[in-house]
Amino acid sequence: MKIQNDQKTEDFLNNFSRKPAPPELKEKILNEARRERAEKRVMTPMLWKVGLICSASILTFLLLDTFILPNQKRYIASLVGTQPVIRIQKQDESLLFLAKLLNMTQEAENMTWLKAKLLRKHKSNRNNRYEEFLRLKEELNEDKI
């Protein structure tokens, strides 16, 4: 019985509708809102352009960095100076080339071998570097003999 009565009340309420808002209200509200948006806009068209260019540059850099060959990376690092091993290798190659020109191949190869050995020991025996050098020199002399 109660449901029926409530249903009647709802049916009664359905006979009513809201009155429309004043007709000029829409234009007034929207114009003010647009003006507010234009005034308080953080991203100007210029800022959008700058942002897009920066994002594109970063993306390009990251893509190139991913696709660059490992050898090229190493070579660049050697030029920049972050990987001394490569730098020394490159120097040695130039030295050997020069030695070939001067007919001093054997001496140059000995020097390269000594340097490479020194470099391998470099990290573990930093404190005894001088003694190690002397020991290796003796080793070299023995090899020669």
């Binding site: 409530d6 009664f12 006979n15 009513f16 509708s17 808002a21 929207l30 003010e32 809102a33 647009r34």
Partner: protein, 161 residues
């Protein structure tokens, strides 16, 4: 969804809701303006709103409450709620003037939270889900307030129709 589309869909309904809630056409216009300022500031995010009706009415309700709080504070804690019946009767239309008066008088006597739900349901055509979202209630609470409101409205109108 841009501002104009939002206004076309919800502007009049929000104005009507605010008019009944605030009791003044001027205040309703001011608060509706605040609502659209706020929506304008959302700009890009407006495209991602899932339930626009609930979103707009939630902002309208929050702005109206903020406005009322400020008004009450300015008037040292007393809010005049006179003429609510007249306000409601000015904002709705029906088949005859007498039934409009009876309904307005009955709605004015309802507790505010029940009246709000009935207004949102019948005049602003929101679903219970949207009402619950706009008012920050659970759907069950919104539905039960509606049922109590309808029952009370029926008892208030009994014998008058």
């Amino acid at each position: 969804m841009d501002l104009e589309e939002l206004y076309d869909r919800f502007g009049d309904r929000a104005y009507h809701y605010l008019y009944i809630k605030l009791g003044s056409a001027g205040d309703a216009e001011d608060v509706l303006q605040e609502v659209f300022y706020r929506l304008a500031r959302y700009s890009i995010r407006l495209k991602f709103i899932r339930r626009p009706a609930a979103f707009v009415f939630q902002i309208a309700r929050n702005e109206a409450n903020r406005f009322l709080k400020k008004k009450i504070h300015e008037k040292n804690g007393c809010r005049k709620n006179t003429g609510l019946c007249e306000i409601i009767s000015n904002s709705i239309s029906g088949k005859d003037e007498e039934s409009v008066q009876i309904l307005s008088a009955s709605l004015a006597q309802l507790p505010e939270e029940q009246r709000e739900i009935i207004v949102l349901k019948f005049f602003e055509e929101l679903t219970f889900k949207e009402i619950a979202s706009a008012c920050g209630l659970s759907i069950n609470t919104a539905a039960s307030r509606y049922r109590y409101g309808i029952a009370k409205l029926r008892s208030l109108m009994e014998g008058k129709l």
